[in-house]
């Protein structure tokens, strides 16, 4: 037992700590350095899913039915697998259209319907208030166990003003009011609150794990010990098997599936989950980490559930003590009051976290979707009335928070003892699961209509109330149980838990089956029966195609609004609901984005109206925002044709933009091509220029000698005969050089330009090579060189111009003759077949070609050897040879090591490619 003052003191101390953390978070946010812009904080804040119901209730459920506490956590883990697809879309939609609650989400999707918003809010309140009561009950029961060491009796016996639970509820209301309604934020984000919730998630996890470790290793010798000692109790043995007492064969697959599905939907649709996961999300990239951190968190917090449940029953004896308080009673009974106190704080944090977030979410809905629409109907509150409404709105929300919490407290007092914790939780789950068809299908199916959503929700909710809520109320003793057992007026077919004779399912699965069946059936049926109105269709488009049409996609989103508006009206409306400052910011931002310098010159067009409406949506919900905007502008009612037309305009604009992009891209491409062509031309021009310059040089050099020597002879008629003879010989040889050069330049030009004539016949290369060697034999004899000819007996004929090939041979042979050493020259000529070609080699024992010159030896005007000892040549012989060989589809190359002689060779294919066969 622990002194009540200590427990109260610690509890309020803990709450003060929460205040401090939240205040810190808000201050940091105001400074622009968000503490919650962090994937870890985001993932931890999602753990608000684990309430007191998890903290105390899981152990209770495990103690009663073994592994059946698990589906509640398997569902969320499965749901997080889809996070990137489904939750990211929810986040994107909510943030694009400034949606701040699940009621608003549904209402906005189905044409901003106030009726739908109100219905969703109503369902939420009815479904969630018992859940809130449950948290208060947990706090109260825990307090009782801690201070008396015993199970809580029925109701607190003390007067209500002395009730600690009420104090806690009021403290939480204060917290929520301070950190949840500090300002009317159009993004409806509460950084301090999120920071506090993330902190609470850590506290409850650590506390629960501490108790688990204490039980497992402090009171027992590890898990194996707990299992083996549990086996000695026949009641507990069943808990460790899947199918309970009768074995795995009777395992309730349907129930398991239903529970998993239910919790899967809850983790997306419970107001507090929607608030944390979607509304408070700072960056959708955080989802990536949350998608595994959150499931890991759930796994961790469940590790010790079974050990505590079994261990507690082993110690206290099965059924002797309320298993839901094992977390507190076990440490308390075994001399660890400090741990018990810590465990209580953990439970407190689980409960308060849920209470805070749920209250904010529900109060936002109540304010925006129940109170606002009623107020808007009052004269003096409408869009054209004056006065700043922000303070009034905040006050409404504060009242709603207090009301929701007090409603929970009231419920706790009235029905607190009636039903176990786990059951209430599941009943709430089943209520919010009714949102699933309209919400999830509505995000992907454009055909869903308002009528379908309303019908589905009403039908599902009615069946939920009849098959689940009513029996639970009956079991609380408020209406006769006979009604549950035998149906109203004794009509068995209508018995709430066996509707139409559906037997063999537990009441939850049964209820879920009927309510969702009717819900989906009505939703789809009514949607198909009558198509959507213009506004429903336009909203459906905006939701389903949010990734394609949203602002973030960088394309102009279509604005489904037509009419006339005045800037003053919009300004006034925005100031009234957002405050003058934020309204001015809004208009200035808009002006900046569309490039208008003066806010007063803004055009009150559809885009501005849409923007104002979105901002108002953040403050008062989409349905109320719609009503408010409609009250200050003159709207043309949209028909479905108009929606299509607006959509066409938008896609036409996109089309134009895309066409323009394509045009500019192809223009760029053309420019690049032209630039390339130009560069090529320039480099060709440059080559030609170089060639001309080289030719000029080669022509002028012999001319210089000829002219100079001729002039000298002319000037000196008395020149010595020997001298004159030498000069004349030079003149003749330079003239020959000149005409050789002219011939070769012309030849090369003809070949290169494709104007050369080729007289192709079948050529016997052996004969041709032999003839060429014979023709060049005079040259070799002059130089005193020996020629060695190596020819095969027979080679295949090739198709070529024999004159041209002879030209090549003579050129190679005369080159060899020029470069071999005088009187010691050796020239080897080889012809051989090589695969499908013929190779001719002309090898000499001259000085060879230095490595540096080998690469350029086939270029024009690159004569080998030094100028002094160089035999006469034009520097065009080898380039012409190579051109000829190339023409026949062959290849010419040089093998040489300096000082070892040179070997010029070429290879001709036996079967030249067709295009080489040109005349």
């Amino acid at each position: 037992m622990i002194a009540a003052s200590l427990v109260l003191g610690v509890s309020f101390g803990y709450l003060l700590l929460l205040f401090a953390i939240a205040a810190f978070g808000d201050r940091r946010a105001a400074l622009g350095r968000s503490v919650i812009d962090n994937a870890w904080i985001y993932a931890l804040s999602l753990a608000v899913y684990c309430t007191a119901w998890t903290y105390f209730g899981s152990v209770g459920r495990a103690a009663g039915s073994g592994v059946w506490f698990l589906p509640i956590y398997l569902g969320p883990m499965l749901a997080m697998l889809l996070a990137w697809v489904v939750v990211r879309k929810m986040i994107r939609i909510a943030q694009t259209y400034r949606i701040t609650s699940i009621a608003d989400f549904l209402a906005s999707r189905y044409g901003k319907s106030p009726l739908l918003a109100a219905l969703v809010t109503l369902i939420t309140v009815v479904g969630i208030v018992p859940y809130i009561a449950l948290q208060l009950k947990a706090i109260s029961a825990g307090y009782h166990v801690l201070t008396t060491g015993q199970q809580a009796p029925g109701l607190p016996v003390i007067a209500w003003w002395q009730d600690g639970t009420l104090l806690v509820a009021l403290a939480l209301a204060a917290f929520t009011i301070i950190f949840g309604t500090r300002h009317l934020d159009s993004a409806e984000r509460h950084e301090g609150m999120v920071a506090a919730i993330a902190f609470e998630s850590i506290v409850k996890l650590v506390a629960f794990l501490s108790v688990g470790a204490f039980v497992t290793w402090g009171l027992f010798d590890g898990m194996a010990d707990i299992w083996s000692r549990g086996q000695t109790f026949p009641e507990l043995r069943a808990l460790l098997r899947l199918g309970g007492e009768s074995g795995a064969a009777s395992f309730g697959y349907a129930q398991w599936f239903a529970l998993t599905l239910l919790s899967m939907l809850s983790v997306l649709l419970l107001p507090r989950q929607f608030q944390m996961m979607v509304v408070e999300c700072v960056d959708e990239q955080h989802l990536r980490r949350a998608a595994w951190v959150f499931p890991a968190y759930l796994l961790l917090i469940n590790v010790f559930v079974l050990p505590i449940a079994i261990g507690g029953q082993v110690i206290f004896g099965p059924g002797r003590m309320d298993a839901e308080t094992f977390v507190l009673s076990l440490p308390l009974a075994h001399g660890a009051p400090a741990l018990a106190l810590f465990a209580y704080v953990g439970g407190l944090s689980a409960a308060t976290g849920m209470l805070i977030v749920e209250t904010i979410a529900v109060s936002t809905m109540v304010c925006n979707d129940l109170v606002m629409p009623s107020l808007l109907r009052l004269s003096g509150f409408g869009g054209r009335a004056g006065g700043d409404l922000t303070q009034q709105l905040l006050n409404i929300r504060r009242c709603a928070i207090l009301a929701v919490l007090l409603l929970g407290y009231l419920y706790f007092h009235l029905a607190g003892e009636a039903y176990a914790l786990v059951s209430i939780g599941l009943i709430s789950f089943a209520a919010v699961a009714q949102f699933a068809p309209a919400l999830l299908v509505g995000m992907y199916w454009r055909g869903g209509t308002r009528a379908g959503a309303l019908g589905g929700l009403l039908g599902g909710f009615a069946l939920w109330a009849y098959t689940l809520m009513l029996p639970s109320v009956a079991k609380s003793g408020w209406i006769p149980v006979k009604f549950v057992a035998h149906g109203p007026f004794g009509i068995e077919l209508l018995a709430p838990e066996r509707l139409f004779g559906l037997n063999g399912l537990d009441n939850l699965t049964h209820s879920l089956f009927w309510s969702l069946l009717i819900n989906v059936g009505l939703y789809i049926g009514l949607s198909l029966w009558r198509g959507p109105s213009a506004r429903e269709a336009s909203q459906a488009l905006l939701f389903v195609d949010v990734f394609e049409r949203g602002r973030a996609s960088g394309q102009a989103a279509p604005v489904f609004w037509r009419g006339r508006a005045r800037l003053e009206d919009l300004t006034m409306l925005a100031s009234r609901l957002l405050g003058a400052n934020r309204a001015r910011q809004l208009f200035e931002e808009h002006a900046r984005e569309i490039g208008v310098a003066d806010v007063r010159n803004l055009l009150a067009d559809a885009r501005l109206v849409d923007r104002v409406e979105r901002q108002l949506t953040g403050a008062v919900g989409s349905a109320s925002a719609r009503v408010l905007v409609a009250s200050v502008v003159q709207e043309e009612p949209l028909a479905i044709d108009d929606v299509i037309e607006i959509l066409d305009e938008a896609s036409q604009l996109r089309g134009y933009a895309r066409a323009l992009e394509d045009k500019s891209r192809s223009l760029e491409l053309a420019t690049a091509e032209l630039r390339g062509a130009n560069e090529q031309l320039q480099s060709l021009d440059h080559l030609k220029d170089d060639f001309m310059s080289s030719v000029t040089h080669e022509l002028r050099t012999p001319l210089t000698s000829i002219r100079a020597l001729s002039e000298l002879m002319l000037d000196a008629p008395d020149m010595e005969v020997d001298q004159r003879e030498e000069f004349l010989r030079i003149v003749v040889s330079e003239s020959e050089r000149l005409s050789r050069l002219v011939n070769q330049v012309l030849d090369l030009a003809k070949i290169e330009s494709g104007h050369a004539e080729w007289h192709n016949t079948d050529v016997d290369m052996a004969k041709l090579v032999a003839n060429a060697v014979r023709a060049a034999s005079g040259l070799f004899r002059e130089r005193g060189a020996a020629v060695e000819l190596s020819l095969p007996d027979q080679v295949p004929l090739i198709r070529a111009d024999p004159d041209r090939l002879t030209q090549v041979m003579l050129n190679l042979l005369s080159n060899a003759a020029k470069f071999v050493p005088a009187e010691a020259g050796k020239v080897g000529v080889v012809l051989r077949t090589d695969g499908d070609g013929l190779v001719v080699e002309v090898r000499d024992n001259g000085p060879g070609v230095p490595l540096a010159e080998q690469a350029t030896v086939f270029e024009k005007f690159r004569q080998g050897g030094d100028a002094q000892n160089r035999p006469p040549g034009t520097g065009l012989g080898l380039p012409i040879c190579r051109q000829i060989v190339d023409h026949f589809g062959g290849r010419m190359w040089l093998e040489s090591e300096s000082g070892e002689g040179a070997c010029f060779a070429f290879r001709l294919p036996l079967r030249p490619a067709e295009d080489q066969e040109t005349p």
Binding site: L703, L709, A867
Partner: protein
């Protein structure tokens, strides 16, 4: 007095004609077959005038001219650049590197002799 003239050209037949002309004037004639030989001869023999072919293998006439102008000992050597390339850019380049005069091949022997006499006067 007798002048020392260096002929630097890689075309043997052009050397023959230039050598004949210079000797006929009574100058002492030196011959270099490429740029490197020419520079060595200039530094060693200190000729008053160089008939320098612009296009020689290895070290070109332009390179030689530059090297001479950069060398304090032989800086004042007069240089007559001869080139078979007639483009304006080549003339500009020759003047740019510091040649005293420039003639394109083929040249008139009279003009050439006149220029040589002028340069040595």
């Amino acid at each position: 007095m007798s002048f020392k003239v260096l002929i630097a050209d890689d075309e043997p037949n052009i050397v023959v004609s230039l050598e004949f002309m210079m000797k006929r004037e009574g100058y002492e004639v030196l011959v270099a077959r490429d740029g490197r030989q020419a520079l060595e001869a200039i530094r060693r023999e200190r000729p008053q005038l160089v008939l320098l072919d612009a296009m020689m293998p290895g070290m070109s006439g332009f390179d030689v001219c530059e090297a001479v102008r950069a060398d304090g000992a032989v800086r004042d050597t007069r240089i007559l650049m001869l080139t078979a390339k007639g483009r304006d850019t080549d003339v500009a380049r020759g003047v740019g590197v510091g040649a005293d005069a420039y003639m394109t091949k083929p040249f008139s022997t009279r003009d050439l002799m006149q220029k040589v006499r002028d340069m040595l006067a």
